[in-house]
């Protein structure tokens, strides 16, 4: 038993391949048997992954989900930013450049609206819960954008660590919701073509959320959504501590 454990830990990435393979196999079986394929197998697999992530985090108190359990540390390599981005880039192979050009203006508008609307909504919710200083409002607004924009904004503006932690949590909630919810809302919002996928990526912005949500909806949409989402966090980090903070500050100075 100890020998087996030792081998699995030392070959963490290989064990992660096996583990994810098993999750997908079981998820596709479940999709066929329980929903006759109506709920996409990959959607089930992502939910299973998130449940494991929660269990791992709850058991270890760490911040990297199941990979904080030594046996599953290889998942951090397989699902980390490096291989995730590598795989996202590879999905662009075979993409029609004309589709991207056609959705250009919508995509850019989606990015701007996505960042601004998230900040506004986040700040309004924070206001409703009794936060009144512009720094906290902007930071929580940043969290409503992504869990990176929140802390970057908060650190730049000197927000309290409690508010920064809150903004990270808000961003994580958004990201998880996008991963789980996208396949269900996709038919309602017309998310079934490259253009709407680019708009979706620009509006939602969370790379992991968009990557997971579109994977569970229709893998062919992934490159289009990822294309715009990749600009979102940078744009949020750019606008948050500068323009958006100034606007919020001015509004509260009156």
């Amino acid at each position: 038993m100890e020998i087996a454990h030792d081998i699995l830990v030392k070959n963490g990435l290989v064990f992660a391949f096996l583990f994810v393979g098993l999750i997908l196999w079981l998820s596709y079986r479940a999709s066929d048997l329980l929903s006759r394929g109506r709920i996409h197998g990959s959607a089930i697999a992502i939910i299973v992954g998130l449940v494991f992530a929660w269990a791992g985090g709850a058991a270890t108190g760490g911040s990297k989900g199941l990979s904080d359990v030594t046996l599953f540390s290889g998942l951090a390599i397989m699902g980390g930013a490096m291989l995730r981005d590598f795989a996202i880039v590879s999905t662009a192979f075979g993409v029609d450049l004309k589709e991207i050009k056609r959705a250009g203006i919508s995509g850019v508008l989606a990015l701007i609206f996505g960042v601004v609307v998230s900040f506004v909504v986040g700040a309004l919710v924070a206001l409703a819960f009794g936060y009144t200083d512009p720094v906290s409002l902007t930071t929580i607004g940043g969290g409503a954008a992504t869990y990176i924009v929140g802390p970057v904004t908060g650190t730049a503006l000197g927000a309290s660590s409690e508010v920064v932690a809150l903004s990270v949590a808000a961003g994580l909630v958004k990201s998880v919701l996008v991963m789980v919810g996208t396949p269900w809302v996709a038919p309602l919002i017309g998310l079934n073509n490259p253009k709407s996928a680019m708009v979706f990526g620009g509006l939602m912005g969370t790379t992991s959320g968009v990557a997971g949500g579109l994977a569970a909806t229709d893998k062919r949409l992934v490159p289009y959504g990822a294309m715009t989402a990749t600009f979102y966090t940078g744009l949020g980090c750019l606008l948050g501590p500068s323009l958006i903070y100034l606007v919020i500050k001015t509004m509260f100075a009156i």
Partner: protein, 130 residues
């Protein structure tokens, strides 16, 4: 050779991330702006050029397609390392913020998608497997 495809992909990935980082630095922020997006565009251009010149044999293509096929498994692994525990224990403010931002942005998807005309949906696929 398969490695040629993987190497092209790796080149695009790295070059795109460097461009994104430089763009961030030029705007004075410590973040990558669009690195993955630039990498994707680069891959589209380079493979398009190679294909037009008959320089992209099946084997090289497979080096890229393998990673494309690994996309969903990698996303599952990504899901399993998210800080879900922190999201769940973030309290009411975090949950309400996350939900509200989600709904507001989702509602805008059909609105902005309509700019310049509605596109037809992608053709249905027959029980596509990973």
């Amino acid at each position: 050779m398969i490695i040629y495809g993987v190497a092209i992909l790796a080149f695009c990935h790295l070059a795109g991330l460097i461009v994104g980082r430089l763009l961030g630095a030029a705007m004075g922020i410590d973040a990558n702006i669009g690195g993955v997006g630039f990498a994707m565009l680069l891959l589209i251009f380079i493979t398009g050029w190679l294909r037009a010149h008959g320089q992209l044999p099946e084997q090289s293509k497979n080096g890229i397609l393998f990673w494309s096929a690994m996309y969903i498994p990698i996303v599952i692994a990504m899901a399993s390392i998210q800080n879900v525990a922190a999201a769940v224990s973030g309290g009411v403010v975090a949950v309400v913020t996350g939900i509200a931002a989600n709904i507001a942005c989702l509602l805008l998807v059909p609105v902005l998608s309509r700019i310049g005309g509605v596109e037809p949906p992608l053709p249905a696929t027959e029980g596509e497997k990973v």
